[in-house]
């Protein structure tokens, strides 16, 4: 019997949902099925860890697309469904309840999952942060007078620290590295943020590992390498994330720090694509270096591109990596890959700071900035365009705030 094949998207996060919507925007008329493992309609993750709505009882669930909008776009949304297996030879995805979906093209947007801290596995007062339900569970335990320990001074940990402090909690952040944000953020920018956290009354302990976790009915106690103990009502573990690749691995797809895709986001199976946090891909701008990004805009843009390529567009992904974070009213943005640079040019905006990262041959490879609100947004955005154009602007122009970066773009 012939089955009606269509487009199947596994993962209803940013990448998967944008892809499903984009298939319709591009006029695809066949069946589109979006499979999500959470009960909620697809929602935006960035607001969950950030300070917005600190006065509200529960975090806001900001839908990417409501159930009604998905239905209106004729996208079949299956919630609470974790795909069990892919059969690439048959072109099928099987769900745990026995449902079998037949695909022409399949997109995997399975995302990433918090890296586990094994010693916390049996702990009741330890939590991870990824989903809306995680945010609700943590939010319920935050308030004036509550004590929060955060393990890991990455973006999730620091954003949570800032929003917990805004809610009146006592916050201690524990980081094994000698400074916060060692991954992808230059030391000078991290130092600005570190100082702001301390000014807000947050204690940050760098160079401290957690050697043991003990609990009683009310309290979790973290033993640190220095011998100190931190007691808290809840400990949130934010030590990074790992790509969710089990389904792809079982289907025999190539894995390389995530589901390996080519520049068109195609996996080692030509009918299966991957997008967002779960995949690693080559960046032509950086000599084909393979990267995996955990970033909202990357997920959104890759979702849309994967959809176009599922329809045969054959486009290469060429976006410049970009992410942002908001903490205590400071906005941080990074475009490009700072670790590709060998020297830094500073642009002091008076209260805000942008660093340009240049390669040995003077090419702009990244910009990172921090300042109140969106003070650095425009400069970082223009730098992104300069990077995309492989520009090597004069360092003197970059350093002088009165020179509009836009004037350095080739028009």
């Amino acid at each position: 019997m012939a089955h009606a094949r269509g487009m199947v998207v596994v993962g209803a996060g940013e990448a998967g949902t944008r892809a499903a919507l984009c298939l319709r925007e591009r006029g695809y008329a066949g069946r589109v099925t979006l499979v999500g493992d959470e009960v909620h309609p697809p929602y935006e993750r960035p607001p969950l860890s950030k300070g917005a709505g600190a006065a509200d009882a529960l975090p806001e669930l900001k839908a990417i697309s409501t159930r009604e909008q998905l239905a209106a776009a004729n996208i079949e949304f299956l919630h609470s469904a974790r795909a069990a297996a892919i059969d690439p030879a048959e072109g099928t995805v099987r769900l745990p309840n026995g449902t079998v979906l037949f695909y022409d093209k399949l997109l995997l947007g399975t995302g990433a999952a918090p890296r586990r801290l094994p010693m916390a596995d049996a702990a009741r007062h330890c939590a991870y942060f990824r989903t809306y339900d995680d945010a609700v569970a943590i939010r319920r335990r935050l308030g004036p007078g509550s004590r929060v320990a955060i393990i890991g001074a990455g973006f999730i940990g620091l954003e949570l620290a800032a929003s917990a402090r805004e809610r009146g909690a006592t916050v201690t952040v524990i980081e094994a590295q000698p400074r916060i944000l060692t991954r992808g953020v230059p030391a000078e920018i991290a130092a600005v943020l570190h100082a702001r956290h301390e000014e807000a009354g947050i204690e940050i302990l760098c160079g401290e590992g957690v050697t043991g976790i003990t609990e009683d009915a009310e309290t979790v106690r973290l033993a640190l390498t220095s011998g100190r103990t931190v007691a808290a009502d809840i400990a949130v573990i934010g030590i990074g994330a790992t790509p969710v690749t089990g389904l792809a691995e079982a289907a025999g797809l190539a894995i390389d720090n995530g589901i390996a895709v080519d520049d068109a986001l195609r996996t080692s199976d030509p009918h299966i694509f991957a997008a967002g946090d779960c995949c690693s891909f080559p960046l032509a701008l950086y000599g084909g270096r393979r990267v995996r990004l955990e970033a909202w805009r990357n997920a959104q843009q890759q979702g849309a591109l994967a959809a176009r390529n599922m329809l045969g567009a054959g486009e290469a992904y060429a976006a410049v990596p970009w992410f942002w974070s908001d903490q205590h009213g400071l906005g941080l943005q990074v475009a490009g890959l700072p670790d590709e640079g060998c020297c830094i040019v500073r642009r002091d905006l008076g209260g805000a700071l942008v660093l340009f990262h240049l390669s040995a041959d003077g090419r702009l490879v990244a910009a990172s900035g921090i300042g109140p609100g969106h003070a650095v947004a425009r400069d970082v955005r223009v730098t992104e365009m300069l990077i995309a154009g492989r520009a090597a602007p004069p360092a003197g122009d970059l350093a002088r705030p009165e020179v509009k970066l836009k004037s350095l773009l080739a028009r």
Binding site: R18, R297, W324, G373, H374, A377, R378, R381, V382
Partner: protein
């Protein structure tokens, strides 16, 4: 009732740029096109209430500094994900070196 209010001087906005203008508890964005014409819209992005004046003007579009949603600032038209709600625009006139908007 609509009224004309003085938003800024002509020289306060560079060509192909934008500034923020607050009035009576409301916030607006005033643009100058590459050709030197002035335009005005609501000041906040329709996606997440971010000040558009911190964003980037390229030709006839303003790009939100937060999520890069783009609008045609002449018509207010939203130009694709993540923005889907158009920006409200306001009539603009110039008088004696000043830029006025009707709000």
């Amino acid at each position: 009732m609509a009224e004309w209010v003085q938003a800024c001087g002509e020289s306060d906005v560079d060509p192909e740029d934008v500034i923020r203008f607050d009035h009576d508890g409301r916030t607006f964005a005033v643009y100058r096109s590459p050709e030197g014409e002035f335009f005005a819209t609501d000041g906040l992005c329709t996606h997440e209430k971010v000040h558009l004046a911190d964003g980037l003007v390229m030709d006839e579009t303003i790009e939100c500094p937060k999520h890069n949603g783009r609008f045609d600032y002449k018509s207010g038209q939203a130009m694709g994900a993540p923005v889907c709600v158009n920006l409200k625009t306001y009539p603009v006139k110039r008088e004696g070196g000043q830029v006025l908007i009707e709000i």
